[in-house]
Point group: C2
Chain length 339, copies 2
């Protein structure tokens, strides 16, 4: 437990500075008790319900903060993002909420449901590139050529500051309850960096735990190596956390400083967490949220907040993930929160 670095303090300060004009376009999501998980006699678990956020994920927070940070001139020229999912929806929601023009690039073969959801905000969708990494390269090239502002899903201080409002809300909503740990699913690290800076500003002793699928955990590997490393990723139902870390990402030093512990989660454990959320909490969450839900039992007397980061999951992928486990496949008998 030490002072926050200058960078982490900057993030927390940028979060605090976000005005009501930004915040009113974000839902203050509930912090609820995970009853079933809490009665085991071990830790008490609280769920930060970002799966109930507008657009179905926390990404609106960062997109709104970024759009707000632009100059009038930048906003007039327009923004561009590359995303098939939550980040694209977040940028679309932010554009509709704050005004401004923009463009969301998606790879060929992107889900028509997701493309339609982005278009519903009145935002242009351009199909470019064969797969996500190529779409991102082309979007960045287009940004440079047409003087558009490229909005990174995580490698941007304003975006990270926006995600930090999740941490601020946890602090406010916990009230007098002492919180021992906060668990967040990690992809590029934007959410955990912002949320950790906010909660550690208020509670210097709180532990921040990062959870990633063992199949695709580039940030955990990069923090371990002390530099951005590529990992040989395998498929994961946690598609929102999948993908490599960008060279020079500011989330790398932030995660290295702010994340106290890493959990690498097996696919079967993510599946069982999805099932348990449906069976006992009657809530739909996406794979990345289920990744964060698998946290172990904790210690008696502890209070642990789990950030459930989104609910955008395709029904066909969900059907496959929650199908009863086959007898010949080893499956975790546990579930979220160590049940």
């Amino acid at each position: 437990m030490s002072e926050l670095s200058v960078l982490a303090q900057q993030v927390a300060e940028a979060t605090r500075a976000l005005p009501a004009a930004v915040r009113r376009h974000v839902a203050v999501t509930p912090l609820t008790s995970l009853r079933a998980a809490s009665e085991s006699g071990d830790a008490k678990f609280l769920l930060k319900c970002e799966h109930q956020q507008k657009t179905g994920s926390f990404k609106v927070r960062g997109a709104l903060a970024k759009l707000w940070s632009l100059t009038d001139d930048e906003r007039r020229r327009g923004v561009i993002a590359a995303s098939t999912g939550n980040h694209g929806l977040g940028v679309a929601h932010a554009l509709a909420a704050l005004g401004g023009t923009g463009l969301v690039c998606v790879p060929a073969g992107a889900s028509p449901v997701k493309v339609a959801a982005i278009r519903r905000y009145g935002v242009e969708v351009r199909v470019t590139g064969a797969e996500p990494a190529e779409t991102e390269r082309l979007a960045r090239r287009l940004a440079a050529a047409e003087q558009l502002t490229y909005i990174s899903p995580y490698n941007d201080l304003s975006v990270i500051a926006g995600q930090g409002t999740v941490g601020e809300e946890i602090v406010q909503q916990a009230g007098d309850r002492p919180v021992d740990a906060v668990v967040v699913a990690v992809g590029g690290g934007g959410l955990i960096s912002g949320a950790a800076a906010a909660v550690k500003s208020a509670w210097p002793g709180v532990r921040v735990i990062g959870a990633s699928p063992v199949n695709d955990a580039a940030m955990a590997a990069s923090v371990r190596a002390g530099r951005v490393v590529e990992v040989a990723a395998k498929p994961t139902i946690s598609d929102a956390t999948a993908g490599g870390v960008e060279e020079g990402a500011i989330t790398l030093p932030l995660c290295a400083e702010l994340v106290d512990e890493w959990l690498l989660i097996e696919e079967a454990e993510i599946h069982s967490a999805l099932r348990l959320m449906i069976d006992t909490e009657h809530q739909l969450v996406e794979g990345s949220a289920a990744t964060g839900l698998k946290t172990g039992r904790g210690q008696p007397g502890q209070t642990i907040v789990i950030v459930s980061c989104g609910a955008n999951i395709a029904s066909d992928a969900l059907a496959e993930a929650i199908a009863p486990p086959r007898e010949d496949v080893a499956d975790s008998t546990g579930g979220y929160a160590g049940q």
Copy 2:
């Protein structure tokens, strides 16, 4: 559009009379826009989100109203209910909220997850009977023998009045928006009777539409016959609306008077509504709620409220229902609200 009958007026009056002491134990669930369904250019659809209600279904409303209606002596002797699902949870929540003793009977083989959920409220669960109808008979016999108050899931004016608060909320939440129709899934008919009495008291011209699975639609058949009839039920994912109508049920005359139109929904249509709720609304609903969601396109300019009545669905049943349709099986290409 005529005057309500004395019975329907009684129901609406009993709903209005429910005090704050009851209402504060119920969540006022959101009335949200079904964006994707509303953009087709036909009717505008609003969703009454009872799937976000405490315990995951509207049943808490009726159980609270019934428990409140008891004398001190009756409450001291205790209540008894027979249910494997939402009604049992509703009674358990009501007992925990208002105080009193009670017992929930479940058949042998009831889901351990559901039994655990009821016990979590500190309420005794007794396993009795081989299947639901036998469990109900045994619970009624026990009620008579031990002077307990048997709480019917729908055949009780107080229970129906409690469900009516859903209708009251719709009227309040719609504000100045004229609502043309309200769609409700029908099993025993408690929810639609209470909700219809409340909305028709405020809006005499509103149409009330009942939706049941074609596989198990005892109330629709009974209304058509003018008396309680048994139907040869087939299995349905809408388990919360399944089952026969009790001889002498007061919901039969109420439904006959208050329901303007009946929709009989195929299983494949319920499945596609479940998928669409996940893919475009990011919400988990149970089969009965999905039944109500399949309402046709409506007319341009109309506003139609769909009551989404619950979210208690087992993950294994959901997995089967939302699996991509096999090519050799005829499936509806539509979804909820006629998409």
